[in-house]
Point group: C2
Chain length 372, copies 2
DNA sequence: ACAAGGATGACAAGCGATTGCCAAAAATTG
DNA sequence: CAATTTTTGGCAATCGCTTGTCATCCTTGT
């Protein structure tokens, strides 16, 4: 992959002249440590080792460590001490095998590189870790097939699933929800509990904002055809623009990536609209770039409203007016909905639907409609 | 979290008037399906079910599915057919228990929300999936302690580790490397195999670029104190600026976030430098914002060079000149280095060091030095 | 046609935990 | 102080799969 020796040595020289020597020295170290490890037979301490050291049965160790109260206070301390001394960590594999639960939740997102999902991932990650669960991140690459596949393949290895912006059909989703506990994000009309982001209401806010700036010809720049939120946003857009007697147009579908922005911008300009409501910020940012290239000024000639308020929306040029919502929190709520289903004993009232509020964040990409 | 009923219903109305009904209907569906499932005793088909259906022993099923060639061609087909019919998925738990390998690799990054790591994550994810491994993402929140902790806690559940920009001390790292297979990214002087991004050479390119633009007073804006790459970049900066007899200054350390950009910008301006080489793009973008607020023009009054070429570097204002490198590829290479260690049979020559090339991407944040 | 050898598949012993069941010990009660 | 209840901790059976060992069967060579 990289041309090696020559480049390497010059680089090393610059970085750390003693690297190679250092490496060798430490190599030797390892050797020694590895040997030390091999003295003890099975490398990792098992529950048996702990039991032996503490002078109890393995079952007692297991209970001491998982069922507080089931074991005498003082015995437990002795066990914990032994466990600590051996640096014992229970094998999640073995634990999962016998208990049937993996303490793992899989989070499926259409595209890891989309900053929108970053926030969701961060939210789920936090919440899951707090509950002692492990998160399994899966990138489904915008493909319903991969999504269904992952759902199948991992049904044994995850206790539950969180589907962000699922691309599955309603039937697939219903079926999947019957097979395993799952919570969706931004996908409401399904059997599964859902966290939705209230973008329709955001659309209203955006439209009012644009109307107040004097815009009358507004274009809806659509996202992926299979996206449920896209459909809902379009629906809200239609209803609201009709009420307000605005002239509308629609272009798309476009992939939710900055690279699709060029085509989207050109199409939008072609409609003659003076303002666009764009499926998401990624696309909107791409449009901004293209409009700038074409010499179309934002917001003087064209106003742009994005959606999601992702990383970057505040520092692009011009900064993007966008429909913001607590995405990270959506992730957290999704997790707690899922966990309350997985552990009905703890979980309080497990809701079937959570609606995350949205608000319009006005920045510099929207302005008064151009005079005609 | 959200005010419920009222808002909910209004939202539902807008979205899907039949949602509730729909929900109930599907609820019933599930009930039925769940019942169906309960008819078969153990819910998920096991290897035994497959063996029975195919008329062979479980061991044969196991071999047919994992050791191609060990089982007769025709028997295998029969088994595969049976497995497919039952929709059998082996339990990774059980498999791991007996085989001792989890087919899982943990990737530790200091901050999931940093776009730099996004690319790494994407790279590792791809490569791991291709090799049939599962990726476990861990956010260590820039903390050496959490990192060490995760390394301990997960040593049973992961076959190997990839540490991106590890915050561990050399001793900790050496110890960790002795305990389990691990590959580091951007952390060379350690026992473990490493993928480094050749930023020192990028620093040279950046300096040459700035010099060619007439800059003589250059400021190094430092990142986290515990960051190895930061140290190396500073080192390269020092060496190269001395050779070129430039006037230098250094500010920092700053957290690698846009929010730290304000302080960084103010400090940099205070040094009187006309150009900055900034630890990373995140910080640089933050500085850009602050400089703009303060009316300091970029690049007319001050040139800025970032590092990493992250998402956003191309559309911030002005677009950022930055030291780019194939980050995603770095992730991929790290994975293949790790896997070649985990599976010595396949793996070819397992390198101990891979150096990723860098190049300067010049955009609009650098320009001629201001006249004095 | 028979012995040697390789291919094939079954048996059974784990892997490291959990957990139902039960007996011994301790605490409570009358 | 005996009887009863409650704790406490051990035994052993699983969980679902892998793998070492070994018997069987089918090829071959002679």
């Amino acid at each position: 992959m990289t041309s090696d020796c020559q480049k390497l040595s010059s680089v090393l020289q610059l970085w750390d002249k003693s690297l190679v020597v250092e490496g060798l020295r430490q190599m030797r170290n390892t050797q020694t440590m590895a040997e030390l490890q091999l003295q003890s037979p099975g490398k990792q301490p098992t529950i048996r080792d702990v039991a032996e050291l503490a002078g109890v049965a393995t079952s007692t160790v297991s209970r001491a460590l998982t069922k507080p109260g089931r074991v005498n206070h003082v015995t437990r301390e002795r066990i914990e001490e032994a466990a600590a001394k051996l640096n014992y960590i229970p094998s999640s594999q073995a634990r999962g095998l016998s208990s049937g639960r993996t303490q793992t939740v899989a989070v499926l997102v259409p595209d890891i590189t989309n900053p929108f999902y970053f926030d969701i991932i961060r939210g789920t990650q936090h919440q899951l870790k707090a509950a002692g669960y492990t998160q399994l991140l899966v990138d489904t690459e915008e493909s319903a097939e991969m999504e269904a596949d992952a759902l199948q393949k991992m049904r044994r290895s995850a206790d539950g699933f969180i589907l962000a912006a699922s691309r599955l059909t309603d039937e697939q989703l219903t079926e999947a929800a019957a097979q395993q506990p799952l919570v969706t994000i931004n996908r409401a009309p399904a059997i599964a509990p859902t966290v939705v982001i209230d973008t329709p209401s955001a659309i209203i806010q955006a439209l009012e904002h644009l109307v107040s700036l004097g815009h009358t010809r507004i274009c809806f720049v659509g996202g992926p055809a299979t996206s449920w939120s896209n459909a809902k946003r379009w629906q809200a857009f239609q209803v609201e623009t009709k009420e307000r007697e605005l002239t509308t147009s629609r272009v798309g579908p476009f992939a939710p990536k900055t690279t699709s922005g060029a085509a989207a911008a050109d199409a939008a300009v072609h409609t003659g609209a003076t303002a666009c409501i764009v499926f998401n910020d990624l696309l909107a940012i791409g449009m901004l770039q293209r409009l700038r290239e074409r010499g179309i000024r934002v917001p003087e000639d064209m106003s742009i409203v994005g959606c999601d308020d992702i990383f970057g929306a505040d520092f692009c040029n011009p900064p993007l007016t966008t429909m913001a919502s607590p995405i990270e929190q959506a992730g957290r709520v999704a997790v707690s909905m899922l966990l309350s289903r997985l552990n009905p004993q703890y979980g309080g009232t497990s809701r079937r639907l959570a609606v995350m509020p949205t608000h319009l964040t006005v920045r510099a990409s929207t302005g008064p409609a151009p005079e005609r």
